[in-house]
Structure formats: C-alpha cells, structure tokens
C-alpha cells in the first residue's frame, strides 16, 4: 500500500519479526476460535447455517493490511473491478496466492493446505525469508507453515490458545487489579457449582448473569440469564455432558451482566522483545441493542484513554511473560457513570480493527468522523462490483474530498452464492463491509443512510434478474431478526443512525439473545 500505509504495517512487522521491512504473507483465517474451542467443555456448541461461508471470505480483509511487497493467501480471486477500484484509490496491492479450488465451508488455511501450488509458493517465499502472519494461530496454521516450509511470525498455537481463554482474561485482570464485573472462572465442575450458587444471589437481587464460553468467538457463546430456571437448565446441560464424557473439566466464565453506556475495542501490539505499543481505541455503536459498527474516533476523555493505555502496558507485559507476541485486541465497556471496565475479554489475535488500521492512517483525517459498517444484503444473484460501483457512484470514497464509503472487503458480498445448497429461486445472504467517512456527525448519518438505501435498491435488482420472488421475509420484519441483533437489514429500510451508544437492552427476549459488537 505504498508509503502511506507503512506506519501500522511497518510497526506490526517490527513487532512480529524485529524488522520493519520483513516480507509477510497474510492469512485471514477468521474465527480461529473454532479450533481453540475444539474439545473444550464450554456451552453446548451448535454451529450451523451459512454464517461460516461468509466469515470464511473475510480472508479478503488482509488485502488492505498487507504492503505492496507482502502477500496474501486468498480463497478466491478478488473481483477485478474491485481491485481496480482499490488501485484508483492509490493503494499498492500485495501479491496474491489464490487457491485453485476453494471449499466455501473451509477456512483459507484448510483450503491452502489442500492446494499444492499455494504450498509450493509459500515454501518459496519462506526460503527467501518470508514469514506467515495469520489472523490467529491454531494447529491448522502451524500445520500449514510446517507443510509449506515457511516460518510463522507468531508464538505456538498452544500459547495463542492459552492466552485467548476468557478464563485467562479474567484471572489476569484479577491478578493485575483491573476492574471487572463480579464473576467467577469455572475450570472444573466444582467451580461451576460454586459459581452457579453465587450467581443465584445476583439473580435474586434482580440482576442478570452471563455464562460465557471460554473460547467463544467475540460476542458468541454467551448466554444471558435473568432467572434461576434458565441458570439451572444451562447448569444441567453442562453437568449432563460431563456425566456422559466422564470429564469434569469446564471451560466457562460466569459473571454479572452489568449496565453499560458503550462498548469499546482497543488494540495494542506486543513485540518479540516484550515492548508494548498502544495502537488505538474504537467505540462500538449500538442502537436499541442493535450493533451498528465502530465509531472513529471513540468519544473518550483523555483520562479514559490514558487508563486504557496503562492497562495495555500491564496486560502486554504479562502476555509477553507468558510467551505471547503480536496483536492483541481487548473488548472493554464504559459504565453508565463513565467509569471503565477495561477488560471484558482479551483477543490475542488480529481483530476486525487490525485490518482497518492502514486505511485509517491513509484516509481518515483527524477532522473526520468514521463509522465501520457491515451492510447485510439479501441477493437473488451474485452482484458484481462493477454494478455496485455504478449504484453507489458518488457515495464512494473520494480521496480528494476525504469523505465517502471505503469498501474494505468485497468477497463477503457473494460468498454464499456458490454454496450450491440453495433451493431454486431462493436468495442468499451477503454482507458488504465498509467504512463511512464524513466531516460531521450529521453528514455521516446521512451518508450511511443513503448507502443503505442504494444497496437495498441494487439488491432488489438482483432478485428481479434471478427471477426470484418473495424471499420469505415479511415486510413487517424490518429490521429482520438475523441482523436485527447486530445491524439493520438492507433488504428493508436501514435504521437511521443515532449518535450515542445505547445501554444494554433491558427488555426480556424470548430466546435470551444479547448483542455484542
């Protein structure tokens, strides 16, 4: 991405390898937690549906993190018009190692492991000093590096897994004296029994309690309960499985679900030499409990930012002591009085924000306000970038103006088109990731709304062209249920953006759903 992109990526290279001009090969293996969670006794895991097909194509985010002398392993060739668009924005694209035959249900790592030309090329890059930088490191990434003959710029999968457990996060925060909600780590059935009893007292006091999977993907694997009946039911589910397997280990955290004004996400980088660099903090925007995206800059006081910087130093130091180096994202919360819960969970891997760091440096000026967005789409047929570009036209980012929509992944739009499991005439879900940049709050909201409106219109044309009719969603469902938890659905009217973050939803939900960024 040329000189402008150098700061963050250069610093990342220095942290991972000791030199700013290392040749990195990026691997966007999102939801590496699935590997870490395997065999771990957390909440019952029920991972179904087409969600992973879209998540697996988040590999394309790595294009905008890599520098021009770097490389990216991809599941599929990016849309040629999208690449041209990125180049017109002034981005120098990295080399691309595209697998020949991708399985939509597989991660980029799994596909690469099956692809001899990609393995050979990785080996060639490794032989000349290139190193592999994964989104997060599990055993599959270790296997890929070993099979191809390229070093991983990361600690071992075992270390990465250990420091990503929510049990580790909670214990570390306790040890360092960092403020947390009341809670208990449960590594055994006995600890779970004690935690359930303690949680009962919180429920009796009218509070809510969350049971969190130690290796849940951020925002998933969380069950929030408001009454003892549901608490006991979850407890029974865990006990019943333990009885069957004869394993009395548990991987859960039980904690009070506290009131908050806003969610935060901040990132720091731990170098191989143990040095810690605070990168940035972003604010998660919600509206009525619906996650809308991240806001740049976060609305924090200097004191709050200083506190997060200090917490980063403390956490980073301990992570380094435990053998970790690389990117660390931390979820945090602001309470209704402005106090911080600086550690809700530690994600010692790349985060969504990591992939925005370089474009943020290049395109988002200090006077700008930006909103990191996911626009859900319901499509009847694949939507080429060229069509989308014509539809959005003047709304796309203009470097001269410094405002507009920056699209930072296009693969997720059509990812679910090729799964081959759709019923005739049925549509498929897609997702457009972008960053809306404007010079004022009002214009940001207006731009976001207009992008949503145009996307809805262009999505509609794909249904007509596919000859499909009703998509099974009811007009009154707007925003429909799937994205309603996280974002308004572009199939219908996008929700208007309001500035302030909302507190956690307090109305009871029949399915006990909760929202996280």
């Amino acid at each position: 991405m040329g000189e402008t992109a150098g700061n963050f990526t250069g610093r990342l290279k220095a942290a991972l390898t000791g030199t700013r001009d290392a040749e990195l090969v990026f691997l966007g293996n999102f939801e590496v937690e699935d590997q870490w969670a395997r065999g771990e006794p957390g909440l019952p895991r029920l991972t179904f549906g087409s969600g992973n097909v879209i998540v697996n194509r988040m590999d394309e985010f790595a294009l905008l993190l890599a520098g021009k002398d770097d490389h990216v392993v991809l599941k599929g060739e990016p849309d040629a018009d999208y690449l041209s668009h990125l180049e017109e924005l002034g981005l120098d694209l990295p080399g691309m190692l595209v697998v020949e035959r991708q399985d939509p249900g597989s991660t980029v790592t799994q596909d690469a492991l099956e692809d001899q030309p990609v393995l050979r090329e990785l080996g060639r890059l490794g032989a000349r000093g290139g190193v592999l930088s994964a989104h997060g490191v599990g055993e599959l990434e270790e296997r890929l590096a070993e099979r191809a003959g390229i070093p991983l710029a990361a600690p071992s999968a075992a270390v990465c897994k250990a420091v990503n457990s929510k049990i580790y996060s909670r214990r570390l925060a306790t040890e360092l004296g960092i403020r947390q909600s009341r809670g208990w780590t449960c590594a055994s059935l006995a600890e779970l029994d004690a935690a359930v009893e303690a949680a009962r007292a919180l429920l009796a006091d009218g509070r809510r309690v969350a049971l969190k999977d130690a290796f849940g993907v951020s925002g998933k694997g969380i069950e929030v309960v408001a009454d003892e009946r549901r608490l006991d039911r979850l407890h029974r589910m865990v006990l019943s499985r333990a009885r069957k397997t004869g394993d009395d280990r548990v991987g859960l955290v039980v904690e009070e679900w506290v009131a908050k004004r806003a969610d935060l996400n901040y990132q720091f980088t731990v170098g191989r030499d143990g040095r810690v660099h605070f990168d940035f903090v972003k604010e998660a925007l919600t509206e009525g409990g619906v996650h809308l995206g991240h806001r740049i800059p976060a609305r924090l006081t200097e004191r709050q930012t200083a506190e997060l910087t200090e917490v980063s130093r403390l956490l980073g130091g301990r992570l380094a002591d435990d053998g970790y180096f690389g990117v660390v994202g931390v979820d945090a919360m602001v309470d209704p009085d402005g106090g911080l819960y600086p550690v809700v969970e530690i994600n010692a891997r790349h985060n969504m924000s990591t992939y925005q760091a370089s474009i943020q440096e290049s395109f988002i000026g200090s006077g700008s306000t930006a909103l990191v967005r996911r626009y859900p789409l319901r499509l009847g047929a694949p939507l080429p970038f060229g069509t989308l570009r014509r539809a959005l036209a003047d709304l796309l980012f203009d470097p001269a103006r410094g405002t507009g929509l920056l699209i930072n992944n296009y693969a997720t739009v059509n990812a679910a088109a090729s799964t081959g499991k759709r019923a005739p005439g049925a549509g498929f879900d897609g997702r457009l990731h972008g960053i809306v940049v404007a010079d004022s709050e009002d214009r940001l909201a207006a731009l976001d709304e207009e992008v949503g409106r145009r996307l809805a219109a262009v999505a509609e044309t794909t249904k007509r062209s596919a000859g499909s009719t009703a998509m099974g969603r009811q007009p009154s469902a707007a925003p429909s249920w799937l994205p309603a938890r996280r974002e308004p659905h572009i199939d219908t009217a996008p929700a208007p953006l309001q500035g302030a973050a909302e507190p956690q939803r307090t109305s009871p939900d029949p399915l006990g759903r909760e929202e996280r960024g």
Binding site: G219, I222, R233, S240, R473, A477, W481, G512
Partner: protein, 108 residues
C-alpha cells in the same frame, strides 16, 4: 400470540402427533416474538436459518425455550445440522427425543 401449550404434566406423552404440533407452535411462537412478526406467517416449512434468522448465537436460547415449554431435555450431543433445516424438522427432533426419553423411562 399467546402460548397455547397444554400443561406438560397432563399432556399425553404418547400422543406424538400432538407433541409435533405443539413443538411447531412453540418454535413459531418463539421466533415470531424474536422477529416481532405474526406467528401465523411462520409455517412448518419455514427455513430456520435462511428465512427466520436463527444463528449459532441464538439456537441454544431457542432450544431452552422449547425445553421449558414442552417439558423435555435435549441431548445436545445428538443435534445435527439437518435437524435445523425447517421448523418442521426441528419439531420432528422434539418428537424423536421425547420418544427416546419416554422409552428410557419405561425401560428404567
């Protein structure tokens, strides 16, 4: 839509046809509340993920609601993707698991 599920203690456990119907009603009711739509628009052929927006973060909550409403306990190890295709396939799973639990109790 109000729950019309009869009291599980008085329900005839052997009447699996009725249990299937009650499971469909419970699933439709739960999802309708979550989606804020009329439960009457949800049929046993409605697809849970593609049409009704079920996902991995909400499926456990749905299962617990079914357990509470219908008085059974799922064996979560037995759950497979095909059980979650439609409202009807999930209701069939409810009937299947209730049958198994009844058989276990009879055998005990």
């Amino acid at each position: 839509m109000e729950h019309t599920t009869p009291d599980v203690d008085t329900a005839d456990a052997a009447d699996t046809t009725d249990l299937y119907g009650r499971a469909v009603a419970t699933i439709a009711d739960s999802l309708a509340k979550a989606m804020q739509v009329d439960a009457a628009t949800i049929t046993e052929n409605s697809r849970l993920f593609d049409e009704l927006g079920l996902d991995s973060t909400t499926v456990l909550g749905l299962l617990m609601t079914i357990e509470e409403e219908l008085g059974l306990e799922f064996d979560t190890d037995d759950l497979e993707q095909h059980h979650f295709e439609t409202v009807g396939t999930l209701a069939a799973l409810v009937r299947e698991q209730a049958d198994e639990q009844a058989a276990e109790q009879t055998g005990a």
